[in-house]
Symmetry: C2
Subunit: 250 residues, 2 copies
DNA sequence: CAGCGTATTTGACCTAGATCAAAGTCAGAC
DNA sequence: GTCTGACTTTGATCTAGGTCAAATACGCTG
């Protein structure tokens, strides 16, 4: 019985046959220092590789759906991902944008806590959840690292709550640009100009705004000389200090 | 050098002298099955008790401040707590209401991620952070439990994001009442009628609304016969099914 | 390079909820 | 019991941002 997933992912078979020289993808993984894998010694890493598959997803393709049984955990290695929740009438809240080094799919329930979709062509490491959980028992360091990441995400979630609950449209857009830039630094990517791999609509669904309001805020920032829109998908932060001020103290 | 904290907390000295019969407070702790402590065997629990102090805080008194060095982790055993973040101009977002069994103060930074204040007279178990972290290394079960709790909180944070980003005022208030009721069930407290230990202003700061809008939504729900306000601090959910519908699918 | 579908910008208008203001209510202090 | 201050409700107005609509702009595909 083949899974439907086969149609969604292109699986890199080579990964599974890291034969002869014991060269495996982690050795050349560019995001390892930024991901949970950094906590592992070579031996532990080898255990992880044994249960891992690398998969690729085209832009705008789903990675998993909220309703689905949560059978895998993923680690982004290339590309960008959005995770989101839907209300029954279609209203959408994007709860995060993920970049190389970020984990997704961790849950303590039967199903995922959100849906995930690739923004650009994306590569991920995929781990069967059950096997990973079994490994976790033997690797307290990995578990500690995951707790650390969860704690960091929790703090980020609270920043997002104050943004959604109490910030003006302009403050939200500025905070968003600063956040993208900070995330880029943290992941060792260029942070200025900063890339915008998502649409205005996605930004709106992340910031609790309409796409028109996002667009208006961006042109206003451009007019004020705080940013330059190099092209539709690339913003230069001209006055980061002034922007940090506007972002509003958080 | 005495800490300033001494003025804030009333510390129950008896806790530290659980002498003769090795009776310690956990044995009679009513919230243990609902807290992280449930993961522990008696021996592990004893280790935890050794580093623990019980403290009491009066209603409307601070427990810790966001800017403070995070030296303790707390577990609520009685009462109710609000945690919140402030923008520099005073706008406030309450990011959570905590009840017996809930942890607060976990962070991976120098300082706390939020401020915490008692809503009612509150009792807490207090653990020195460093000592707790040392114990964590020896108690993988506790660490797993904390990861599970963090993962649960993360899911709750995402529900809060969709509430703040995409729900109407009425949907927010209904969602809030349902959430309080669900939390009461989870913690083994009466869930209908449900207690409201916080003010309308607090509710507004949690839901991203003004206190007036919260009040209007409540009277509208009352008029529609969905709820009854027994007194200012106690709501009966008259039609939970209809309310679950309004809450909007999440 | 022409045509097309999608994303973005900009404009005009509208509405949910904020803000301002004024009565009630209630609980604790004396 | 009644005074007082904090909380809540209700009303009247205002506005930030949503919605609807139209005009560009931008890749792609053939």
């Amino acid at each position: 019985m083949k899974k439907k997933m086969a149609s969604r992912f292109s699986v890199d078979a080579a990964t599974k046959t890291h034969s002869l020289h014991l060269v495996h993808p982690c050795d050349v993984c560019e995001v390892r220092p930024y991901s949970a894998c950094a906590a592992l010694n070579p031996d532990e890493q080898a255990h992880l590789v044994e249960i891992m598959t690398t998969v690729e997803v085209d832009a705008h393709q789903p990675i998993f759906d909220e309703a689905e049984r949560a059978q895998h955990v993923f680690n982004v290695t290339e590309g960008a991902v959005k995770i989101y929740k839907l209300l029954s009438d279609g209203r959408r809240q994007i709860t995060g944008f993920l970049f190389p080094g970020d984990f997704l799919g961790l849950t303590h329930n039967e199903s995922y806590a959100y849906s995930a979709e690739a923004l650009t062509h994306t590569k991920l490491c995929r781990f069967p959840r059950q096997k990973l959980e079994a490994l976790l028992d033997e690797m307290p360091k990995l578990e500690q690292r995951l707790l650390g990441m969860a704690s960091h995400e929790l703090a980020a979630a609270q920043d997002q709550m104050i943004l959604l609950g109490r910030k003006s449209a302009k403050e939200r857009v500025v905070s968003f640009l600063m956040m993208l830039s900070n995330a880029a630094v943290r992941h060792g990517r260029p942070d200025n100009p900063v890339g915008l791999p998502m649409t205005r609509n996605d930004m709106g669904d992340y910031l609790g705004l309409s796409l028109e309001t996002v667009s208006r805020a961006l042109t206003q920032l451009k007019t004020q000389g705080l940013i330059q829109l190099l092209d539709e998908r690339r913003v230069r932060l001209a006055k980061p200090e002034a922007m940090r001020e506007i972002a509003g103290g958080v």
